[in-house]
Symmetry: C3
């Protein structure tokens, strides 16, 4: 198996790039969406992504149990496209409905730790190929509010941990790829 | 004709790099400013940029009708330096004085769509060289508020569309260029 | 002497990368911390960094007089690791307890200008090696409020000025290095 991480800012073209990778693999593609259509704006974004994808791709939705879903769908003749890790992380941070403090230390939900560990463990033995899409969120001004800072910290840490286990890491800006790890082409 | 996109964060040195490109082209340079000195801070920023530029460069100001202005100024013996696309986009988003909602879907001004389409069309047949400066704004925490998110989305989409039509795309960080597309030097 | 700038977003792995550089130099390492444990969250971040570092590294703390401290500690058989420039800049911007305006032009503290000039001057004649860690903060939405914009401007300018004087500049994303200047490996 082989894991690829496609990293980029908002509207950097990272999803379209990851979709091309999946398409060009020649394998059967499973699209694993981590988002939920919570409001009209989000629904519009999801619809926009869906229109672009080939109709024969299978779509699976999983907001929290990413490792279990990958374990179920990953197979040697398939490529699973996970779009995206950052939304999954955000789902986990808010999964138990807690109140977040404005300042001070934050305790993360138990499930966050369990699901995160399960994902990293899976990367050692998934049978098929996986392409992860993830956001770079740490290159702006450090945001006010403990929750935003905690989110930025966890998103950055997750990107580092997945990148360390991936065979290939590609940074996308303005739709153009820059290989950070692995073969250049 | 040849288009170059110089992309970078705030105070990344992208304008200075673009100015060097223009200077080194050996062509007559037209500096096309998209900003307006709306307040004292903006006026100071504009003055700072102007001091750095050679006195014999012609300066043209155009806040909205970028394609028309490029069509008028682009010529085979000239290079037009557009600084910057992001400000032009912002001018267009606010050009009809509308109220922006805090949440929910946003309808963009008619003129935004028309000017944007005109720019992309022009890139296919401008007679002379153009260097575009543009901001990367999508690598921080996704901002609250529909207008900031919409701006980030549109800025990212425009960068992708211009990058796809440019012969050369250069990412600038800490004043140093990183070629994303086209010849390395 | 040789200066290296390691640039990256929040939680990009830039500190860990800089620590590896220091370790692999084979020289005696002095860790120069510019942070102060102002609150519990900051104390936790500092403790997290400290745990990762070898116990035999000497740690020096200096919030403001960076050039003087570097002059005292830099030596031909040593490498000084400065973590990080962005925090030092922030310490300087707030060093005289002034009120920052919400809008309009900002006057920076005298000491800011003096310390900044002293650092750039030192880079021309420090006897030993220095590794600077610094944040990229300009690739998100331009923040509201004069102080955040001023901070983003000054952080970007400092990165440019240090990068221009460094022999090597490395951009770090998801823990992976991308050489912007100097030898690739």
């Amino acid at each position: 198996m082989s894991a690829t991480l496609v990293l980029g800012g908002a509207r950097s073209g990272k999803s379209a790039y990851a979709e091309r990778l999946a398409l060009e693999s020649g394998k059967e593609v499973v699209y694993l969406a981590t988002s939920r259509a919570g409001d009209a704006e989000m629904a519009a974004r999801i619809a926009h992504h869906r229109e672009r994808r080939p109709a024969h791709w299978q779509t699976v939705e999983e907001e929290l149990a990413l490792a279990a879903s990958l374990r179920a769908w990953s197979a040697s003749n398939r490529i699973v496209l996970v779009d995206c890790l950052t939304l999954w992380l955000s789902n986990l941070l808010f999964c138990d409905g807690r109140e977040w403090p404005e300042v001070g230390a934050v305790t993360l939900p138990e499930r966050f730790h369990a699901e995160r560990a399960a994902l990293l463990e899976l990367l050692a033995d998934a049978p098929g190929d996986i392409v992860f899409v993830s956001n770079e969120v740490g290159m702006g001004i450090v945001p006010w509010g403990a929750v935003s800072r905690c989110f930025a910290d966890e998103a950055g840490r997750l990107n580092q941990d997945v990148a360390a286990r991936a065979e290939r890491v590609v940074f996308v800006a303005a739709g153009l790829p820059l290989v950070l790890k692995g073969p250049r082409c």
